[in-house]
Symmetry: C2
DNA sequence: CGCACAATTCAACTACCGTTGAGTTAAACA
DNA sequence: TGTTTAACTCAACGGTAGTTGAATTGTGCG
C-alpha cells in the first residue's frame, strides 16, 4: 500500500496550469463550448493529459469550480451590522467576488448554467443553500414568503452579473461598485424585508398581451 | 427575366414548418446547441433543404427571430396612463410577451445571447433602441442618468426572464403574473424615476473582498 | 408530350468533439 | 544499474457539426 518508489509528481505545475486554462476557457465560452482540446492547447499540453489528470470533462469542470469565494466566510460579514443595510452589503460582497480570483470560475459557472442543465443545478443549489437560506434565516423572514423573496434577490443579482460580466451592457459593465451598490442595494433590501403583498398591483393596470 | 414556367412553389408549408421547428429548437437549446440537423429532423426534412431555403445557420436564426412582439405596438401602451405605474405596466407587458406566440423566439434569443457574442449584440441593440430609449425619452429622464437607469431596468428584466423561463427557479417560474408585477414593478419604477444618487451608499459599508 | 425549374433528397467533405489505450520518457528508489 | 511508477505523447475510435454539389422528383406550362 504505502509504496513510495517510482517517479515523483515530477512537475506539479502542469496540473495547476491545466486548471487555470480550464477556468479561463470555461469562463470565456461556457461548459459546452469549451473543448478539452482548446483547454489543453491553452495549457500547452496534450488533450490526453487532461484526461489523465481529471478523468472526464465533468470532473475537470468540478475541479475548476473548486475554491470559489467560500460563502461561509462572506455571508457572516454581510449579516453583521445594521439590518437596514444588508441589501447594500449583499450587493457589495457580490460585486467584489467578481474582482477576486474567484471571479473567473464564477463567470464560468454563470455562463455554463444557462445552456447546461447539469451546471444550472450546481449553481441553483449553491445559491439557495449557501447564500440565500442563511440570509433569510438571519432576517427571520416569514417562511411562507422566504422562497419568493429569495428568488427575487437571485433574479436581480443574476441579471446584474449577466449584464456586467457576460453581456457587458454599458454603463453597468464599467460602473464603479459604489454606483451599483447605491442603485441596487435598496432593491435587495426591499425584496428581503419590505412587505411584498402590502401594495397589490394597481387594479387592471396590466397591458393587454399581443393577440395569440 | 420574367420567365414563369417550371414547378410552382409547390409546398409553401415546408418553409413555415422549418421556421417553426427552428424557433422551438433554438428556444430549447440556444443558438450553438441547436443543430441544423436536429431542426431538420423536427421538421421532417433533409438538412440540406434548410440550407436551400435559408442559406446558412445564421440566416436561419435571423429569419426565426423575425416577428417577435413588435415593440412599436407594446411600448405606447406602457407609456399611456399614470406615470407612477409605468414600472408595473412595464413588468406586466414584459411577462405577457412570454405567454404570447412571440415567447418562443424570445426565449431563443435570450438563451443564445449568453453563449454567442453575435446574438448578444442582436439582443442588446434591440433592447436599447426599441424598448429602453423610448421609455426613457417619454419620462424626460436626465440624459446623463438615462443609460444607467436603462441598464438597471434591463438587468432586472433580464434576470427575471432568466429565472422564470431558462433557469426555472422556483417560485418565480410558477408565480402568477400579478405576484411578480407587484414585487418587481416598484423596482422598475425606482430605477426609472427615483433619485439614484440621492442616497449614497452608507459610508464604508462594503464588505472586504476575498484577498487576491 | 416534354421542357423548365423549384422542391427535395443523397452522399460526401472537412472539421471538431470527448475519450481511449498503447507507447515513450524520466525521475526516484533498491 | 535496474526496476518502479508517474508524467506525458501519439494515433486512433466513433460521433456530430455545417456545408456542398450532384442527383432525383414532381408540377405547371408551351
Amino acid at each position: 500500500m504505502a509504496r513510495r518508489i517510482g517517479r515523483r509528481p515530477g512537475n506539479p505545475d502542469t496540473r495547476a496550469t491545466i486548471l487555470a486554462a480550464a477556468r479561463t476557457t470555461f469562463a470565456e465560452r461556457g461548459f459546452d463550448q469549451a473543448s478539452i482540446r482548446a483547454i489543453a492547447a491553452t495549457a500547452g499540453v496534450d488533450p490526453a493529459l487532461v484526461h489523465h489528470y481529471f478523468g472526464s470533462k465533468d470532473k475537470l469542470f468540478l475541479a475548476a469550480m473548486n475554491a470559489p469565494a467560500d460563502p461561509a466566510k462572506v455571508v457572516p460579514t454581510i449579516l453583521a451590522g445594521d439590518p437596514d443595510q444588508i441589501g447594500e452589503r449583499l450587493v457589495g460582497a457580490f460585486l467584489s467576488i467578481w474582482d477576486s480570483p474567484a471571479g473567473t470560475p464564477a463567470v464560468a459557472l454563470l455562463r455554463s448554467a444557462v445552456s447546461n442543465e447539469w451546471t444550472a443545478r450546481l449553481l441553483r443549489e449553491f445559491l439557495t443553500t449557501q447564500v440565500l437560506r442563511p440570509v433569510l434565516d438571519h432576517l427571520d423572514v416569514d417562511p411562507a414568503q422566504a422562497p419568493l423573496r429569495g428568488s427575487l434577490v437571485a433574479s436581480q443579482l443574476f441579471g446584474l452579473a449577466m449584464a456586467r460580466h457576460v453581456l457587458r451592457l454599458e454603463p453597468i459593465a464599467s460602473a464603479a461598485p459604489e454606483t451599483l451598490i447605491s442603485s441596487v442595494g435598496p432593491t435587495m433590501q426591499r425584496y428581503l424585508t419590505a412587505p411584498l403583498e402590502g401594495q397589490p398591483p394597481h387594479r387592471r393596470s396590466r397591458v393587454t398581451p399581443p393577440e395569440g
